[in-house]
């Protein structure tokens, strides 16, 4: 269906360069882990893909099954959402004064998604029954785990083909972290989503990832060949043990 290809990406804030020559490939229907500790450029890359920051060099592309290519490098956030890329941002970024349901509905803001609003809503509630129970509660008043569920569900509301998830485990109790990661794995499989997940919790992330990258100081320090390589390569171990 669709493949996310990032080539030689450079980006930063003002004069400060954060990413240098980052190349990442997220194959269709696969879950790719972007591993790295805080401050290494994971979120910057995520923001670049979503169009919140403009890269200074390189390219971001979506490759369709039929061989056509959508160039997202210079696209606006709206165009990127329209192309089927959604992001679960770091720190969840919910609308605290809106209800759970309203948060979800806002996820389906773009015209194409409005048509499938009710099916997507049902899907989200089925995936996270907790959210169904708290439909009318204000998002800001929920627990961290519930907020993370809502953030993921909200991203799904736009009917994405590619899902970017930034640090889903941050601020959650260990038991919730593994639940959340499992949910993401489940989600990837049941919907056939192409997922790029940024995570600093190596242990958990590699459980569901089909392949992975390690990013250090804005550069790709390691790219695994496949899932097994990711789980067993010494280099990965040294990184997360070191961290």
């Amino acid at each position: 269906m669709v493949e996310l290809v990032i080539k030689n990406l450079n980006a930063g804030y003002g004069a400060v360069n954060v990413l240098s020559n980052v190349s990442i490939d997220v194959p269709d229907g696969k879950t790719v882990a972007l591993l790295g500790t805080n401050g290494n450029g994971k979120s910057t890359l995520m923001r670049c893909i979503s169009g919140l920051i403009k890269p200074t060099a390189g390219s971001i592309e979506l490759r369709e099954e039929d061989g056509s290519v959508i160039d997202l490098t210079e696209a606006t956030p709206q165009e990127i959402v329209d192309a089927g890329v959604a992001q679960v941002p770091e720190g969840r970024r919910l609308f605290p004064d809106l209800t759970v349901e309203e948060n979800l509905t806002l996820g389906a803001y773009r015209q194409a998604a409005r048509a499938t609003l009710s099916t997507n809503l049902d899907y989200a509630f089925a995936l996270f029954p907790r959210l169904a129970e708290r439909k009318t509660q204000l998002a800001g008043s929920m627990s961290g785990g519930e907020q993370q569920m809502l953030a993921v569900a909200r991203a799904l509301m736009s009917d994405p083909r590619v899902l970017l998830i930034d640090e889903p485990s941050v601020g959650l109790a260990p038991i919730l972290v593994s639940q959340m990661i499992e949910k993401i794995g489940e989600l990837g499989e049941s919907r056939g989503l192409t997922i790029l997940m940024a995570e600093q919790n190596f242990n958990q992330a590699i459980k569901i990832a089909d392949k992975g990258y390690i990013i250090v100081h804005g550069e790709i320090a390691f790219a695994s060949k496949d899932a097994t390589d990711l789980r067993e390569n010494d280099m990965v171990k040294s990184y997360y043990l070191g961290a």
């Binding site: 979503s50 169009g51 919140l52 606006t76 956030p77 709206q78 990127i80 959402v81 329209d82 959604a86 992001q87 941002p89 970024r93 919910l94 609308f95 605290p96 004064d97 809106l98 309203e102 509905t105 806002l106 996820g107 389906a108 803001y109 773009r110 409005r114 204000l138 800001g140 909200r154 991203a155 736009s158």
Partner: protein
């Protein structure tokens, strides 16, 4: 005793109607300031502009002032659009905090005021309509006679209708929900594929558009001259804050509370204490519940 009940009933009725009038003046600010976090201190002066347009249409062609206010609404939408565009380019774009805009809106206030002086002069103006100076009387028994001035009733009905319409729009439509979300998290909204600047621009224009009808109601209720707007800055901001930032229905309820308080004070304790009482209520509420009466999360702003 009967006299007391008569006075009390009348004070309550007038208070509620007066509250509706205050709500009509504040509702636009509840959007621009309460929801969008833009300190539009020129709002009361925009109301005066609306009042003068209603006056102009009324005195020239005899158009009903409320209708005149409705006619002026698209014009005010456009004015709001332009103001926000300037405000955005000068302040928000560079990430300056919202209070930076204060001086800008003060300047705008003076410019509009002088424009009105040049165009309409400084005299007090009133409008004519069949409902001004007439009242409906509800007589209970021999001593209780509740008078409902139509001029306040019109203001009340229009204010309540506008509040409900805006409330429904903000809660039931995709765009309305985006308006409520935009001050909470602009970046997240971008990730939903929404252009937050466009949302803010349209919402701000909507808030200013209410000044067309609000101004018409103002000149229905009281005589207007260009500098009257300044007197109402305190009142409208107080009501929006009292109601809780971001809560449209809260603004209506807060306005009614203030209206009743002022009316009761004017009837039983001496009208000159009215401002102290209404702003005293505001202070007390802020001390006990800083997010306002109907605000949701404390310190969100």
């Amino acid at each position: 005793m009967a006299i007391f009940i008569d006075l009390l009933l009348n004070a309550l009725v007038i208070g509620i109607l007066l509250g509706g009038f205050y709500a009509a003046l504040s509702i636009g600010l509840s959007i621009t300031f309460g929801l969008l976090d833009v300190v539009n201190i020129a709002h009361p002066t925009l109301l005066i502009l609306g009042a003068f347009i209603a006056f102009f249409l009324n005195s020239t062609w005899g158009i009903d002032p409320v209708l005149a206010g409705l006619i002026a609404t698209p014009l005010f939408f456009a004015i709001g659009w332009v103001i926000y565009q300037i405000y955005y380019n000068a302040f928000e774009k560079s990430g300056a905090e919202s209070l930076r805009g204060l001086a800008f809106f003060f300047g705008l206030l003076f410019i509009i005021e002088v424009g009105l002086i040049i165009q309409f002069g400084v005299d007090h103006r009133l409008v004519e309509a069949w409902y001004i100076g007439e009242s409906a009387n509800i007589v209970i028994g021999s001593e209780i006679d509740v008078a409902i001035p139509y001029r306040l009733l019109v203001a009340f009905v229009v204010a309540v209708a506008a509040t409900l319409a805006i409330q429904v729009y903000l809660t039931r439509t995709f765009f309305g929900r985006a308006v409520r979300a935009v001050a909470q998290d602009m970046m997240a909204l971008r990730l939903m594929g929404v252009d937050p600047i466009k949302v803010k621009r349209i919402a701000f224009a909507m808030g200013v558009a209410t000044a067309g009808i609000g101004g018409a109601l103002m000149i229905i209720v009281l005589p207007i001259e260009p500098s009257v707007g300044r007197l109402y800055i305190g009142n409208v901001f107080a009501i929006v804050v009292l109601g809780g930032l971001g809560s449209i229905s809260g603004t209506l309820l807060a306005a009614i509370i203030i209206g009743i308080a002022e009316s009761i004070v004017a009837t039983f304790f001496g009208p000159s204490w009215s401002p102290a009482v209404s702003f005293g209520i505001l202070l007390a509420v802020l001390a006990l519940r800083p997010e306002g009466l109907f605000g949701k999360t404390a310190g969100a702003h």
